[in-house]
Amino acid sequence: MPAVSSDTPPCFDIRELTKVYGSGEAAVHALRGVDLSIPDGDMVVLLGPSGSGKSTLLNIIGGLDRATDGVFKFRGEDLTRASVRQLTLYRRRHVGFVFQFYNLMPSLTARENVELVTEIADNPLSAAEALAMVGLDHRMDHFPAEMSGGEQQRVAIARAIAKRPEVMLCDEPTGALDSATGVRVLQALRDVNEQLGATTLIITHNAGVADMAHRVVTFSDGRVGKVEVNETRIEPEALTW
């Protein structure tokens, strides 16, 4: 495993992580001992077939699920056995999520969707700034039902970045979008990564997306298959789908 040499602890330090659903004969081993270290500020793309364990890992990293065994540390803090409340606070303070289906609050406008999160954040961007970063400052007072899928996803990104998260977790962020719109969303993710320095993990089925990452982690059968470091990154607009 290539380790990252640094004086400060890595953003995520993952050792021998396993996750088993169910028990006995019906047990499903989603993760079979994952070792992974992700440095601060990296943009990481997770690849792998369905059921290879990448979503399970993302869920654990995101504090939505707990590992069965092993160690999961965020900036040196062990979260493997964290309580429900601790995990909630971890998500609240440090993590920004972007979902495949946007999952905006339909009853709130774009601005309000972003403010919903900034209301409970310590040092947030203003909603206007966050929406400007994704190029949506002109649609702030529109409801989700009035926006296209790409626009909704960019609002979701604005919502995720507005709290200045240390971590951005994106599960198939372009999965429901056409390629042109997908590129805009990826540009927004790259901008956030560069401007805010948020460690960004992106799950995708689209191998082409991997070219814009610092690091590409490939999963197979509940384990990390390989970790590649891109010497040169390609701009999202130049990606091939």
């Binding site: 939505l64 409340r85 909630t88 303070r93 993590v95 999952n103 009853s107 409970i120 409801f143 039902a145």
Partner: protein, 798 residues
């Protein structure tokens, strides 16, 4: 076509298996709705069933025992007059009898008990008002000291056939032998004349051989009352008029019909009250249940859009889809109906048993008429079926191609509440709560309406307690402040009052003179008792609604509001008063004031005026006493020995009895209605929150993912029901106040009038109960928040 048969559950089609699955997964919601239906059905069965039973029992009893249509009392009339009465057109049968006041002395209590002695129907007579022999035997002819005793009185004093009892009849004290215990249609509600509650200890009735009684009261060859049965269809008024003409020379105070017979008046008023309840409440419950069924089914249809699309794509017809959802509604309706039926029959029987404690029928026929149950079944079927059809029709109308696609996300941009954007002072969680409410105004209105109905029912039920308290306070603490009311069996001189004043323990005594009168204003005529009271009476008096005494001036009358309304007179006007006793004067007397009397009626004038009108000396027929409690026993002994005392009414005991009866009868009903009103709140709140949860499950899970705590997410979900509950409370208060007013009007009778008073604490109590129920029901859903699947939402599309 798919094979609708499932290999494992033969006979159950795919759709029916889906039905069973849906029903099971929505069981709590279904139970909540079924309970509301059950409450409606149960109220109907209790009220209509009891009404039916009480009517049937009364009619059967009256019929079998030949209950009289008219009573015509006289002072003394020759027996031959009975035949003349029998010749009056419309009269089917007449029986003469002797009826006299009596006083009983008992070992079981210090105070003497008032009562009556009646002659038994003669062997060759028509047996009108025949008694029902509960145990023992009839008195034998020629046995002058044998009596039948009213069962309730006997039980109250532990008396049995074979025992003896001391009675004072017509001034003579005698020891009488009880041969049997009896009930009579005349004493279903055994209440002493002038009393407001039946007290089985204080009021006795005895029956004895006609000849023996006639001799005892010096009425040999004469009678003191005619009881008359009419021919079927004959009118009462002309017969009463003819009897009055016939009997006037014999000191007749005026014949009266069943409606003025005290026992029947109480029984009939109870029946009227039950029919009010039967008419009012069940429709409210069933309407709420119907709306709930519709809302829940509509939500189910929305949730199952895709499945409905698939079903139709597979070739199921619209009809199959409609029938499927109708079955769903039917199961809810059937559960509710059966539960309501069982609950209603059980409650009905329990309440019937309670009734027999103060309505003494020899038997209670619990009606099982199919109509009562049929109506409940039909109304439930129509209400729930109708609600089901509406929702099912929506499902059938879905186009399969459209139905299989997920519905578009709800659009808030054009909905009410979009403008809340400008309202910057609230946080966004609150904004979500408010927008959700405004986005679905119809559903919010249904929830508000349902909770308001629940609160309204609570208030209008608890109102009876407030009203009763004012009624009791006004009658016992403000208008009648005496401890004991003594009545004489005939008018006596003022000396009798002075004798009372000198008795041990008597601290104050005020004279009372009662005469029977007919009041007329134009064509309207009312029978009443005119009471002469001393000037500045402190004990028994008329009062205003505010509780101030209101005293008749010299030459004037004060009458209670109910009488004033019936006669259509106001203070300052004049009415005709015909005294139906003594020399029977007829006068025009000005009404100088109108008083408030919640129990019975009152008609007062100054006793000196009344004595003058009657052309008599300073005569009294009773007295109100204030006594020293420590000397009561000695006072009772003295009163038992005093001549001419017909009976005592003990104020404290009467009040306790009244409160007791109200607690028992109303307490049970109030408990039931409170419970049922609570069920409405449970049904409405639980379903509202549950539907809201199912619609917003993804949203709420996303909030958790975004780092909102469980409490914060619960606020977004439950804030909605909290706001709706708070909005519904003032509406419920208004509805309750309105419903209470209707109840007060509908339940008031000649005997009681419910003052329209709702205390602040009743509103507070109802609000507290509704809030408690809302919180409990909401918390049942809240536990689901802890099980929200955050992982699933990352993957799930809309």
């Amino acid at each position: 076509m798919v094979d609708p048969r499932h290999p494992l559950i033969p006979g159950l089609s795919k759709l029916d298996r889906k039905l069973v699955r849906d029903l099971w997964s929505m069981r709590v919601q279904i139970i909540a709705i079924a309970l509301v239906i059950a409450a409606g059905v149960a109220v109907h069965i209790v009220a209509a069933g009891m009404l039916d039973s009480l009517k049937l029992t009364r009619d059967t009893y009256y019929d079998r025992h030949q209950f009289a249509d008219i009573w015509a009392p006289v002072v003394r009339a020759p027996e031959a007059l009975a035949d003349d009465a029998g010749a009056i057109p419309g009269v089917r049968a007449v029986e003469s009898r002797v009826r006299s006041a009596a006083q009983f002395s008992l070992d079981t209590m210090d105070a003497p008990a008032a009562g009556e002695v009646l002659s038994l129907p003669q062997a060759n007579g028509s047996a009108i008002n025949r008694v029902f022999l509960v145990e023992g035997r009839m008195p034998l002819a020629g046995q002058r000291d044998e009596i039948l005793l009213l069962e309730t009185f006997a039980i109250a004093h532990g008396l049995e056939p074979g025992d003896t009892i001391e009675a004072t009849i017509y001034g003579a004290r005698d020891r009488l032998r009880i041969t049997g215990l009896a009930l009579s249609p005349e004493y279903v509600y055994a209440i002493a004349p002038g009393q407001i509650v039946p007290d089985p200890r204080m009021f006795g009735v005895a029956w004895m051989e006609r000849e023996a009684l006639a001799q005892a009261v010096d009425r040999d060859g004469a009678f003191t009352e005619l009881i008359v049965q009419l021919q079927p269809g004959a009118e009462t008024a002309p017969v009463i008029a003819a009897l009055d003409r016939l009997l006037e020379p014999y000191g007749a105070p005026g014949a009266y019909a069943r409606e003025d017979q005290i026992s029947d008046a109480f029984v009939s008023s109870e029946i009227d009250q039950l029919s009010t309840m039967a008419g009012f409440l069940p429709p409210i419950f069933l309407a709420v249940a119907a709306v709930l069924v519709n809302v829940v089914l509509a939500r189910l249809v929305a949730l199952e859009r895709t499945e409905i699309g698939l079903m139709k794509a597979f070739g199921y017809r619209d009809r199959d889809v409609v029938i499927h959802y109708l079955k769903f509604a039917s199961v809810i309706g059937a559960i509710g109906f059966i539960a309501g039926l069982a609950l209603g029959v059980w409650l009905g029987r329990s309440l019937a048993a309670l009734y027999t404690e103060y309505y003494r029928f020899p038997y209670l026929i619990f009606s099982l008429r199919a109509e009562v149950y049929g109506v409940a079944a039909l109304v439930t079927f129509i209400a729930i079926g109708g609600a089901g059809v509406l929702a099912a029709w929506r499902a059938a109308r879905l186009d399969p191609a459209i139905a299989m696609r997920p519905p578009p996300p709800p659009d808030y941009s054009q909905a009410l509440g979009a403008g809340l954007t400008r309202w910057r002072r609230i946080d966004h969680q609150t904004r979500m709560v408010l927008r959700q409410i405004l986005r679905w105004p119809q559903r919010s209105a249904i929830t508000i309406g349902g909770i308001a109905v629940s609160a309204g029912l609570l208030i209008s039920t608890l109102f009876f307690l407030d009203s009763m308290e004012v009624m009791i306070g006004s009658y016992f603490d403000i208008a009648n402040r005496q401890d004991i009311t003594v009545s004489f069996n005939q008018p006596r001189s003022r000396e009798a009052l002075y004798a009372l004043e000198r008795m041990p323990g008597v601290m104050a005594a005020e004279p009372v003179r009662h005469v029977a009168v007919r009041l007329r204003n134009g064509p309207v005529e009312e029978r009443a008792a005119l009471t002469g009271l001393p000037r500045e009476a402190q004990l028994s008096r008329a009062v205003t609604a505010a509780g101030d005494g209101i005293e008749p001036p010299p030459g004037g009358l004060v009458l209670s509001q109910d009488l004033a309304e019936k006669l259509g007179v106001k203070a300052g006007e004049t009415i005709e008063v015909e005294v139906t006793e003594g020399r029977r004067p007829v006068l025009e007397i000005p009404v100088s004031g109108v008083s408030t009397s919640y129990i019975g009626s009152s008609l007062n004038m100054q006793i000196d005026d009344l004595n003058r009108i009657m052309g008599e000396g300073r005569v009294i027929t009773g007295a109100a006493l204030r006594v020293d409690r420590d000397q009561e026993a000695r006072l009772y002994t003295a009163l038992k020995a005093a001549p001419g005392v017909a009976g005592l009414s003990l104020q404290t005991q009467a009040e306790e009895m009244f409160v007791d009866i109200m607690d028992q009868s109303m307490g049970t009903s109030i408990l039931i209605y409170t419970l049922f009103a609570g069920l409405i709140a449970v049904g409405v709140v639980y379903n509202s929150v549950r539907i809201s949860f199912s619609e917003r499950e993804t949203e709420l899970a996303v909030l958790r993912v975004l780092g909102f705590t469980r409490g914060e997410v619960a606020y977004v979900l439950l804030g909605e029901i909290a706001v709706l509950t708070l909005i519904s409370l003032p509406i419920g208060a208004l509805a309750g106040a309105g419903l209470a007013f209707v109840f007060a009007e509908a339940m008031s009778s000649d005997l009681f009038r419910l003052p329209y008073v709702i205390e602040a604490r009743t509103f507070a109590y109802a609000a507290g109960l509704v809030i408690f129920v809302a919180i409990s029901s909401a918390l049942m859903v809240r536990s689901r928040l802890d099980k929200l699947d955050m992982v699933a939402v990352l993957k799930a599309g809309e």
